[in-house]
């Protein structure tokens, strides 16, 4: 436990001090000002635009963090052999994975918390400027959307871990995790699109449908975590939906990490 915690701690420190994280956070602040400016130029739907922009930029910046700071912190550890200093300790391969994952997740939670504060501040500014536009706005919907975005980022990170556990270069890991993210966030929509023609009598190739269905099971269903629209419109999202999405996210990450541990146990580091 102590070993796991200390690895998480140095991973966090290493990540948080790196230029990538600084750069991304500065970019986030820029996005926040952009948000205030753009929503301010709107004549109507100021609340919708402001919330949607806040959530989208949080998601975007979060993804940058996951891919360029998070996944990299793991795969570079293997590539540059900094992993030797960890594996030479009485620390199991599984604990290495978990410690690293905990440390990187902490970086993402920490950065996203800062971003969320900034984004919320921008919304407070807009709300005070256009109180009439924010009648349907709900802080809780915004908060839950932040939370689900965070969970989806952790899920994406866990897929990155799976790829890094067997691939030999950080570039391959990066590409695979980005592709997984793209498929994961669109597979469900594609499935829905393919299923529609059935109802109007058109035929989709069954093989294609089968593949897409399989993809929906294998790849993370990231659309589950996307309640940006609901938050922007101030719509009510049932707590049961939020809880089950969180549960799905945790379960999916757990499976990814378990697979990474199994693969990592057999791996050699020449």
């Amino acid at each position: 436990m102590k070993a796991l915690f200390s690895l998480a701690a140095i991973t966090f420190k290493e990540g948080i001090r790196s230029r990538t994280v600084y750069g991304i956070l500065i970019f986030a602040i820029f996005l926040m000002f952009l948000n205030v400016m753009i929503s301010g130029m709107m004549m109507q739907d100021v609340a919708k635009v402001a919330v949607d922009m806040a959530l989208s930029s949080l998601n975007f910046v979060g993804l940058l963090l996951v891919f360029f700071a998070g996944v990299n912190l793991f795969s570079k550890d293997i590539e540059r052999k900094t992993i030797y200093m960890v594996l030479a300790r009485p620390i199991s391969r599984s604990r290495y994975i978990l410690g690293k994952f905990a440390g990187i997740s902490a970086i993402i939670v920490f950065s996203l918390a800062i971003l969320a504060i900034f984004e919320s501040a921008s919304i407070v500014i807009m709300k005070n400027g256009y109180p009439a536009q924010f009648l349907r706005f709900s802080w809780s919907a915004l908060f839950f959307s932040f939370l689900l975005t965070l969970i989806s980022l952790i899920v994406v990170l866990s897929t990155g871990f799976l790829f890094a556990s067997f691939s030999s270069t950080s570039f391959i890991t990066l590409v695979l995790s980005i592709v997984t993210y793209l498929i994961g966030s669109s597979a469900n929509e594609v499935k829905a699109l393919l299923e529609v023609p059935h109802d109007i009598g058109e035929r989709t190739s069954p093989l294609l449908l089968y593949c897409v269905k399989a993809a929906c099971y294998i790849f993370p269903n990231l659309s589950l975590f996307d309640i940006k629209t609901e938050a922007a419109h101030g719509l009510f999202v049932p707590l049961s939906y939020i809880l089950s999405s969180i549960f799905y996210g945790i379960l999916y990450s757990f499976v990814m990490l378990s697979l990474s541990c199994i693969i990592f146990k057999r791996r050699e580091f020449p």
Partner: protein, 249 residues
């Protein structure tokens, strides 16, 4: 008594990524070091020194044969509590300070906080990093990184210390510092296994010498025995390595 480090009949090959051919790195190699010995592992570049050392740390696994330390398989996690390791050309998390690096090493090896503090300060002083201990490793010179790695390898006061080319990249002062550290460890009853291709280093501090070339151990003997033949270590080294190259070609 059983040797504390024992590599028995180990072969290891790597798959070459480009040609998909297998490269033989080690061919049924056997060696052993007794407790309290300083073992100098000599060989030209590409001989298989680092490969052997990575096997001792369970970073890679043998195709055949067995590797044990203190009678236990190197696959045992807890074994690494008594093993200290300095990799070749070490590279650490660059935004950490030397102090934090040692803190991690101690924590991960199950040491108490006060113990870590005490050992760290002592080692940082010995490796001449006391002034730089609160600076990020990114700002260190190559020699300083090497010394930080050495301090990290020793922070948990290990019984068996495995160093891959500990003198490389160091100036004469640094080399003397490493020699002195190794001599200190020997005095404290520790076993030191280190690789090098600098013959002078070995001659001064080793009890036992193993010479490896092209993945095969050519010779293993105590230094006194070897030098009894009248030749210098350099003569023996060249003779043994050339014997292997002739056989190989």
């Amino acid at each position: 008594m059983d040797p504390i480090i024992r590599v028995h009949d180990v072969s290891k090959s790597f798959r070459d990524n480009l040609s998909a051919r297998k490269v033989k790195a080690l061919e049924s190699i056997s060696l052993s070091a007794e407790k309290g010995e300083v073992y100098g592992f000599l060989g030209p570049n590409g001989a298989g020194k680092s490969t052997t050392i990575k096997l001792l740390l369970n970073l890679i696994r043998p195709d055949s044969g067995s590797v044990t330390i203190a009678g236990r398989s190197v696959e045992e996690r807890e074994l690494r509590r008594i093993v200290g390791f300095l990799p070749e050309n070490p590279y650490f998390y660059e935004h950490l300070t030397a102090e934090e690096l040692l803190w991690f090493g101690g924590q991960a090896s199950g040491m108490k906080g006060s113990e870590i503090k005490e050992r760290s300060m002592m080692l940082l002083e010995k490796t001449d990093l006391l002034d730089a201990r609160k600076r990020a490793i990114r700002t260190y010179s190559k020699g300083m990184v090497q010394r930080a790695g050495l301090a990290l390898a020793l922070v948990h006061d290990p019984e068996v210390i495995i160093l891959d080319e500990p003198m490389s990249g160091l100036d004469p002062f640094g080399r003397r510092m490493v020699s002195n550290l190794i001599i200190d460890m020997k005095k404290a009853g520790k076993t030191v296994f280190f690789s090098s291709h600098i013959l002078g280093d070995i001659e001064k501090i080793c009890d036992k010498v193993g010479i490896i070339a092209e993945g095969r151990l050519c010779l293993e003997d105590s230094l006194t025995n070897l030098l009894n033949y009248g030749a210098t270590l350099e003569d023996i080294f060249f003779a043994e390595v050339e014997k292997i190259s002739v056989k190989g070609n």
